[in-house]
Symmetry: C2
Subunit: 443 residues, 2 copies
């Protein structure tokens, strides 16, 4: 490290998700030293996590070492660490193993699964927020098919071959479609019980239609495409109870070994340590220029933030919004640095480039403003965009090839059940607890 | 299942390693029904396991679902199950979840890591026999480099950046070489501490030279190639003690966070349940035609077997020997079936096609009879042969591409530290115990 650097302002970035990365990239050659803190050693491409959970991709294909991304940036230090506490007044930050002082702080800690107060459900219905979640869902699903082979009780066998996805947003739709393809096109030809008994996949949505943020026509198209894959879609079906082996909703109760929760997200619980007033989902209500109220040197971006943007529209909790926020903060901070003081408010405006959800092989829906696509063209667009945004040439190449392989062979390569002591833990310790922050890691 | 089949003799095969698979393949269209039992759902290509431990390959690339291999074989049923006990007298077998009766039994359970009576070392120095072992070694190594970044005590920092491999056979040599390449070519450019302090990799061998089954000239060549990668090779250095954080050998003691045991293998402890006399390493001393003494309908093959073959030579515990044994038993059994009684002894003869060990990029040794290769040509031969024997087109393609990627970029794609409850277990529970059989799985 050269001596000149010690005089440069120190920027601490918490979280190497889409927002944190976008900020760090945009700050290249800025006159600051950056410390990027994440509790994981990798950036995770969350939009494809459901494909790890359904054995289509390997976890290493959608995770990329953070240090590798920035290995040529001598202005940037990567710390794998867990935030324990903030001291905004003194511009200090406590990690589990070290303390950091900062001149600027960027909070990009993202969100965690929310069970809307029913945290006991977490033990039976994991969310899908990190690699461990995905591998556990994969493990549970594949083990259920193995168990069905030797189970003599027909009802229990039926329940081993039933998977329920709760939540009809993009993640739930993608998971349900991918489960269905895995079950019906791959596993049914290899498991005797699954070939005799039809595996069931249910998608439960509390509201009147799936994909509520899309147009009504695309919701209907998505539902039709899901049904074509054999998914039973239930709308107006709010879940009332989940325990080990069953899900209750409306006036029905379904016995199912595999249940996945894709119904809610809340801000990282670390936000609660900020001594700032939060909204109902625990998010930070930032100023229009993404500063944390009362602390012009502290910014927050991504899923941890609640904001109506310059156009008065609520900014959604999606990757493109987090990236745009990251870049916006970089611009604002560069100006602060030039002026030597906080720039007058420069409001963030979210540019909605559209949204999409994939349902399966050649099945998807996409919406760009008033322009709508569904089926094969939507699917092809989805593939292209996701490959483009994946970090690293290695991952782009391998994901592309795995998709090509699956397309040609109708097979899935990552069907690995790994022996692990985790399985021997009681069910309530098997999954990440909902109130565990994504930063809480290290050892 | 059709009715004709119920009259066909029932063959139970225990273990879907190289031996078990070769047997099942060779029995295609034989007039029997086969049940193939393994505690894992995948066949593991063990020769490349060290590359998973050193982040070169993803676990899914060297593991292949057993059911997928045999999905077109209606005569073969796959059971993921754990053997609990044998009843050779009544031709019965107890799995944890079901009981099997057999007419023929093929025991292909393989081996486990042996600590030569020092089982307490297992907690600190894992062996490398399955995917979990490999992932844990990877986790420990990568975490050690992260820890070094924030450690303030120079001695502890030094120990985080030190890895020791115990055992100078092919596995130990391959691991040490791969560790060295990972540390010096990849991690050193990303970790500040590792770039300042030279990471140390030691290879300890109790005997006078590494690769003792190779010619003396190749041993020397391998040692020279390892030193070229920065590995400190210590021969005549039997390990006397291992605890959490240090290894003692001869009259030295080295502080090291990452220690891997590649010094010994013994037969699966399930062999002890056979009520047959075993050799010192717990292996079954089979008849020359691979039958278990006193039980002409029971065969044993692979690493669980002790045999001097038809040429009077000890059959080594390597994949080609297991595969040849598997095919030999299939031939003998087919003749038994034709004759309706045990065929007169047809002794197994091992055809040694040579052996090889890779050391790193363009570095390897290979020996085929008196013919010797080292360096680049040996390495190329090694690559080619390993790709050829990998099961499944998916894995061949992806392993090949990962190697190509690493060759061109000097990078490694699978550097993932995954959050896991396992890390929170006390050290003595972190690794597979040495006396745990590879069949003990299911949960």
């Amino acid at each position: 490290m050269n001596k000149k650097k010690e005089k440069r302002p120190h920027v601490v970035v918490l979280g190497a998700g889409f927002g944190g990365l976008a900020f760090c990239r945009q700050m290249k050659n800025a006159p600051v030293d950056i410390t990027l803190v994440d509790r994981q050693n990798h950036h995770l491409f969350q939009p494809l996590l459901y494909q790890v959970a359904t054995a289509g991709l390997s976890s290493t294909e959608i995770a990329y070492p953070i240090r590798n991304i920035f290995k040529h940036r001598s202005d940037l230090r990567v710390v794998m660490g867990t935030v324990v506490d903030f001291d905004l007044t003194n511009r200090r930050l406590k990690l589990r193993r070290e303390e950091l002082r900062y001149d600027y702080l960027v909070i990009a800690l993202g969100g965690v699964t929310s069970y809307f107060g029913n945290d006991a459900w977490a033990a039976h219905a994991p969310g899908l927020k990190n690699v461990t979640d995905a591998l556990r869902i994969r493990h549970r699903l594949l083990m259920a098919y193995e168990r069905a082979e030797t189970e003599t009780d027909p009802e229990r066998r039926r329940s081993y071959l039933t998977a329920v996805v709760v939540g009809g947003g993009p993640t739930g739709v993608e998971l349900a479609g991918s489960f269905a393809e895995l079950a019906r096109r791959v596993l049914r030809s290899e498991y005797r019980q699954a070939s005799k008994i039809d595996p069931r996949i249910l998608l439960l949505e509390a509201g009147p239609r799936i994909l509520p943020t899309f147009s009504e026509r695309l919701s209907q198209s998505a539902e039709k495409q899901l049904r074509g894959l054999g998914v039973e879609v239930r709308t107006n079906a709010p879940v009332t109870h989940i325990d080990d082996g069953s899900v209750s909703f409306s006036d029905a109760k379904i016995a199912a070994e595999t249940v996945v929760w894709a119904a809610g997200v809340q801000a990282s619980p670390l936000a609660q340590k900020l001594v700032v007033e939060l909204d109902r989902a625990g998010r930070i209500p930032v100023e229009p220029d993404l500063r944390v109220p009362g602390h012009p040197e502290v910014f927050a971006i991504g899923d941890i933030v609640q904001l109506n943007d310059a156009n008065g529209k609520r900014v959604p909790g999606v990757a493109p919004a987090a990236m745009q926020m990251g870049r916006h903060v970089a611009k604002v901070m560069r100006e602060d640095l030039r002026n030597g003081k906080p720039t007058p408010e420069k409001a963030f405006a979210y540019l909605d480039k559209g949204s999409m959800a994939t349902i399966g092989r050649s099945r998807a829906v996409a919406q760009v403003g008033k322009f709508e696509l569904s089926g094969f063209p939507a699917w092809l667009t989805w593939l292209f965009i996701h490959l483009m945004f994946l970090v690293g040439f290695h991952n782009k190449l391998f994901v592309f090839l795995d998709w090509l392989y699956a397309y040609v062979t109708f097979n899935r390569g990552a069907r690995l059940i790994i022996r692990s002591d985790v399985d021997n833990l009681p069910p309530d310790r098997r999954y990440t607890k909902p109130n565990q922050s994504p930063l809480i890691r290290h050892d």
